[in-house]
């Protein structure tokens, strides 16, 4: 960790040498004022202070040179390396020993503090990395960050020390399939092979790991508790005794692996939950559909089997009656089938309809004409505002919506009471409304009818005769058009309103012709 850059090194050397220089200046300055013992203390002090900046070898060398120079300059006889008095020999030897001990202690201390700093930095990096991964919704997006962190560990990401990362996009393929991996950094085929091996075995390879020591780079798995989601290749990280970069790299990779695994498990959980929900909705829908199909089918079966087995005992008018009910009920089945089909289709296209400019007048007119055959007592009447703007939507779906609402009113309002169909503009919406004099469906049932298909509630599969499916489809159609289906119960009756947003109208053809 923290390899000294050359400029930092230069600074340290220059500080150390400056201190030596200043020490010598002091020595020369005090030469005539102090005796030899005091001068020697200045030398020891200089050596100790300089050791704070200089490396061990330079410190020792400087001390030795300093001692020799001291001997030359200050120890009598001056100007020679010879020593007059024995006591001066003791002094010089003691000085040398003290210098060596101090320098050693200083360097050791410095190294200790440097390591402590590096460890603290590494711990901080791990903590921040952990936080970042925990907060990330998509840990896969942080692969770039991991790449950079590993790059710093390997001593800068230059071409001599390449760092590469791979992460599985989905399931582990049975054979090494390049497209199954998301990758950062480039590798040669051999390295690719090693990455796959590391990914499949979930174990680290390379120098310092005890496996495939002869490899020139380190391969670390991105491993969670049970699955390995990727692998990293780091070269140039082998100076393990200087600083345990290997441990740090492993920790970073393990954290990433755990995060990827957690994300994977969360995704699986969500999918399983969605599937279960969809299954419940499907089951409810199927239950509702089969319930709704049974009633008309029972009528058809009864009437048809009666015609088949009792034909000769029936009067002409009875036969006519039976045939008529078969036709009517078959038509009901047709409508029901069409509703179910549209509901499934809207679900499949996720509410994205193919629109065109449509006229509300035509939609109402078409539905009115079709519904007349179900309205022998002439209960239906339609009223349209003049000059209605055009609608953007799917006319078939909107016709089906209106048809379902009218059918609903015909069934659930008192016999012979009138039913009004209208279309009008309300602020920025065009409203298609069906009003009757019935109680409609109790307001409480209304929400339930709609929600039954969304919540997957088994308790009440729709109203009788496919009302549930019909209304659920109406709402789905209204929403697919960016609108909403509303139900209002008033003192005089019930009304279903489909509010559809209006768009800017197309250019009037008169301006072209």
């Amino acid at each position: 960790m923290n390899p000294l850059t050359s400029s930092q090194q230069l600074l340290r050397y220059s500080i150390g040498l400056t201190i030596w220089l200043m020490g010598w200046c002091l020595l020369l300055f005090f030469d005539t004022h102090f005796d030899l013992v005091n001068l020697s203390l200045i030398l020891v002090l200089t050596s100790a202070i300089a050791a704070l900046w200089l490396p061990l070898s330079v410190t020792l060398l400087a001390s030795l040179v300093g001692l020799m120079a001291f001997n030359w300059s200050f120890v009598p006889p001056r100007g020679t390396f010879a020593i007059d008095l024995h006591q001066h020999t003791v002094l010089l030897v003691a000085m040398m020993l003290v210098n060596i001990i101090i320098a050693g202690l200083m360097v050791f201390l410095r190294e200790q503090s440097r390591r402590a700093q590096a460890y603290a930095h590494a711990a901080e990096e791990l903590r921040m990395w952990g936080d970042k991964l925990r907060d990330a919704d998509e840990p896969g997006l942080l692969l770039d960050d991991l790449h950079q962190a590993l790059g710093r560990l390997s001593g800068g990401m230059d071409s001599q020390h390449p760092v590469a990362l791979v992460a599985l996009r989905g399931q582990l393929p049975p054979t090494n399939l390049s497209s199954a991996l998301q990758r950062i950094g480039s590798v040669n085929p051999e390295q690719e092979e090693a990455l796959w091996h590391c990914l499949r075995s979930g174990q680290a390879l390379g120098p310092g790991t005890g496996r495939y020591q002869e490899l020139d780079a380190l391969y670390l798995p991105l491993r969670g508790l049970s699955i390995t989601s990727g692998a990293a290749m780091i070269s140039g990280i082998i100076n393990a005794d200087e600083f345990p970069a290997l441990t740090q790299a492993r920790a970073l990779c393990d954290q990433m692996g755990a995060a990827l695994e957690r994300h994977h498990i969360q995704q699986q959980e969500r999918q399983a939950r969605d599937q279960a929900q969809a299954q419940i909705v499907r089951n409810t829908l199927l239950a509702a559909i089969s319930h709704d199909y049974r009633t008309p089918l029972a009528t058809i079966m009864g009437a048809a089997s009666s015609l088949d087995q009792q034909s000769e005992r029936l009067t002409d008018s009875q036969r006519q009656q039976l045939a008529r009910s078969i036709v009517d009920e078959a038509d009901r089945l047709r409508r029901l089938t069409s509703n179910v089909l549209q509901l499934a289709r809207l679900d499949a296209i996720a509410g994205k309809i193919q629109g065109d400019w449509e006229s509300a007048e035509e939609i109402v007119g078409n539905v009115m004409r079709r519904m007349r055959s179900h309205d022998p007592q002439q209960r239906l009447s339609a009223k349209l505002e003049s000059d209605l703007p055009l609608l953007w939507g799917d006319s078939l779906l909107l016709s089906q919506l209106l048809e379902n609402l009218i059918d609903n009113s015909l069934k659930y309002s008192p016999p012979e009471s009138p039913i009004h169909v209208s279309a009008y503009v309300d602020k920025h919406h065009l409203v298609l409304a069906v009003r009757d004099q019935g109680t409609g469906i109790a307001a409480a049932d209304y929400e339930q009818i709609f929600e039954v298909f969304q919540r997957g509630d088994h308790r009440k599969p729709g109203g009788a005769d496919g009302t549930g499916i019909g209304l659920a489809l109406c709402r789905a159609i209204a929403r697919a058009h960016g609108g909403e289906l509303e139900f209002h119960a008033t003192a005089t009756g019930a009304s279903f309103e489909c509010h559809l947003p209006l768009r800017a109208q197309p250019v009037n053809p008169e301006s072209h012709l």
Binding site: E358, S359, E361, I363, P509, L513
Partner: protein, 238 residues
């Protein structure tokens, strides 16, 4: 001589039910259960040459075991104008429009009633006749009289004033009275090829026509809408 009808339908029940119903109506009915059978019955030479048509009308199902009924329509239309009515369970408008534009006379979505089928067949047969005889130039329905030759439209005896575009649109529908005319056909015939995307023109002009010709535009009796497909002018004989 009774009219010869070819019924191409793979479902046995529906085939025999329709056959019985059509026999009662006096048609001479031949049936085919697959595309291959239908082509064989037609005879390769007759199918691809402009000879006397082997049949007067064809009822054609689309989803056949050995192919799509639409293929037969395309082959047939290269040389012949025998009326073809599609009977299919497919109700997507896209398909309907495609087949109508390819020359089908009508399109009935299953299930349909015999009454509906017979009405559509009558219209189709009458229009086949039109290609031999002079085209329809006069349409009368209730109190409405449309005289294309003299550019006159009257209602309850009073002349109705139509703009040239309104008249052209109405005339196109009169010429195919009783039949669906797709949006595409109307836009091309009345406005021109480059106006294919302008369905809103149709909405506007059809609205104006309904205002002038219908008693209650909210419940039209003459100018009928086929949602997503086109328009149909009520058949004069229904």
């Amino acid at each position: 001589m009774s009219l010869r009808l070819l019924l191409v339908e793979d479902d046995r029940e529906l085939r025999s039910t329709l056959r019985e119903a059509l026999l009662v109506e006096g048609y001479q009915v031949l049936t085919a259960a697959s595309l291959g059978e239908a082509i064989a019955m037609y005879g390769q030479t007759q199918l691809e040459e402009a000879s006397t048509p082997a049949f007067d009308v064809i009822l054609l199902d689309l989803g056949l075991p050995d192919g799509d009924g639409g293929d037969l329509l395309v082959k047939l239309r290269r040389k012949q104008s025998t009326p073809v009515i599609i009977i299919s369970a497919r109700e997507a408008e896209g398909q309907k429009i495609l087949l109508l534009d390819e020359g089908a006379d009508d399109y009935l979505v299953k299930p349909f009633s015999i009454g509906e089928l017979l009405a559509r067949m009558r219209v189709a047969l009458r229009h086949r006749g039109n290609q031999v005889r002079a085209a329809v130039t006069r349409y009368e329905q209730g109190d409405l009289v449309i005289d294309l030759a003299n550019h006159r439209v009257s209602r309850k005896g009073d002349a109705v004033h139509l703009t040239p575009t309104e008249f052209n649109l109405l005339a196109r529908l009169v010429r195919s009275a009783g039949q669906v005319v797709t949006h595409r056909q109307l836009l091309v015939d009345v406005w021109g090829q480059e106006y294919l995307e302008h369905t809103h023109y149709l909405r506007l002009y059809m609205g104006q026509l309904r205002a002038k010709l219908e008693d209650n535009p909210a419940e039209p009796q003459l100018l009928l809408t086929e949602p997503g497909v086109g328009y149909r002018l009520l058949d004069t004989e229904s």
